[in-house]
Amino acid sequence: MADLVSHPDEVKVVSKRFGKGATNLDRYLELDGYKAVQKALGMQPDAIVNLVKDSGLRGRGGAGFNTGMKWSFVPKQSAKPKYILCNGDESEPGTCKDRLIFEHDPHSVIEGVVIAGIATGAHAGYVYIRGEYRYLLDIMQKAIKDAYARGFLGKNIFGSGYDFEVYWHGGAGAYEVGEESALMESLEGKRGIPRIRPPFPAVVGLWGGPTVINNAETLASVPHILLGGAEWFAKLGPPKNGGTRLFCLAGHVNRPGVYELPMGYNLKKMIYEVGGGISNGRKLKAVVPGGSSCPLLTADEIDVSMDFDSMMKAGSMLGSGGVVVVDDATCMVKFALRIMKFYQHESCGWCIPCREGTDWLKKTLTRFHHGGGVKKDIDNIQYLSENMLGRTFCPLGDAAAMPTISIVKKFRKEFEDHLEGKPCPFEKADVGEREPALA
């Protein structure tokens, strides 16, 4: 459904079967499908965990935690059943990569789930897909059914004596459910309210059993690591940042699309060479480097390597791979308002700093953008945001605060330009050029 793009700098690992008909199980098998699971079945669980650890694979959902390390936290012995949970509740604004994985290569996710299960001693896994992605849930249901029919799932998989069940699960519209503990609540049939940690899901997760929760892209990377080796995968990116990333280029670029680039690819190059530069002949103003919860970078800050550690050093985050490019005709007050409107809508209301903070910030930014701002609002916006940081059960409060703080700090003048009842300078400036920019 969604158009595929390509660029010579791409290194296709997770996306190597995109557009090749791999939803069909026979085709998937021709393309090295289910070889990794069979290899894993012949390995010691600890060896699989170490292999994934050494590969430098880090969580593709945004947190960037070492995947093998996460698996190693699951206790060997457990009175309650252990589970693998694939997080396919992709909803971070700017992010549309897991969609392509489910659409083109659903079996790679299933394989990743099974391998994670073998490595941690689990015998069941769930693939949770957001409600809006109904067509992908249909694809996943068929893929699971086909895998069962061949004996790749269920009792005695591949005649190995190991049992593993994989089930699909659909959401019904909620950003917060992408947070691991809220995801488990949702799967258990409840409101997606976060749980306090510790205990972490690896110890107490779904129905109280130890649970590994990984993003869909993370799990889809795992079979490739099993077949290609830890060293190969690790060397695709800079130290401690193994592999590639599906970067979703969006916003004001000439060639938006999902590109698979090596971890550590230069952001400036990504925007100007891969993305073809800024659309409509305009200039760059800002970049959301990894989904709406990341602090924004200004045009002067983009000569940076896109890996987890370099982005932290640059004062932002690699996040979920959603790269949203913003041109110089965009009002940053309005942009901040739109981000806050989103978080206010998605806050579950469980933690007061997030519930009240996002609501007050949305109200203040709305008034401000419409010309009703006073000077002390600017500091208040920052102060309120800073007071949400680290004061909530889940990171939704942080996610709302971080981009807002960065926009106020880096684009303060634009806030000042809205003061004293002045209309938004950007909406008046070039109405004619605000038409949708389309290729």
């Binding site: 158009d3 699960h169 799967l187 049939g189 959603g322």
Partner: protein, 157 residues
């Protein structure tokens, strides 16, 4: 309360997927809504009974998820994304265009019951923005003209 055979087969199958009955609730609510059009009192009562929950517990879950509704919608739910990636490429203008064309505001339904309009948060079409979802179908890289054609096609069905 009768659902389709497909619904019943899927429901029975899903009950075997989890250690607790309640776990089937969220996806089941959405499948029920697809058949009935909205989550009516009858649907809520029926599912509460089947899953050993109170109706209040089911209501609590419904009110959390943005796709679930207890009010009838039009035959086609036109969901216009205006989140950041779509905003930058004309999502708001598309929403305004729909309001004018359909003569309704956000969450309104046309008098003939054909269309409901809804401003939605990120639907995962950022690299193909601006995007609109009509029921479950994605329509991407839109302009006002392209969207007009899309809506006219739905109107014919």
């Amino acid at each position: 309360m009768r659902f389709s055979d497909q619904f019943e087969a899927r429901f029975a199958d899903m009950l075997t997927h989890y250690p607790t009955k309640r776990s089937v609730l969220v996806p089941t609510l959405l499948y029920a809504q697809d058949e009935v059009g909205y989550l009516s009192d009858d649907v809520i009562r029926e599912l509460a009974q089947r899953l050993d929950l109170t109706e209040l517990e089911v209501h609590n879950v419904i009110s959390y998820y943005s796709m679930l509704t207890t009010k009838p919608r039009g035959k086609f739910n036109v969901q216009v994304c205006t989140n950041i990636a779509c905003l930058l490429r004309g999502g708001e203008e598309l929403l305004e265009h729909c309001e004018r064309k359909l003569g309704i505001g956000n969450k309104g339904t046309t008098a003939d019951g054909m269309f409901t309009l809804e401003e939605v948060e990120c639907i995962g079409a950022c690299s193909w923005a601006p995007a609109v979802q009509v029921n479950y179908d994605f329509h991407e890289n839109l302009t006002a003209e392209k969207l007009d054609k899309v809506l006219d096609e739905y109107r014919k069905n």
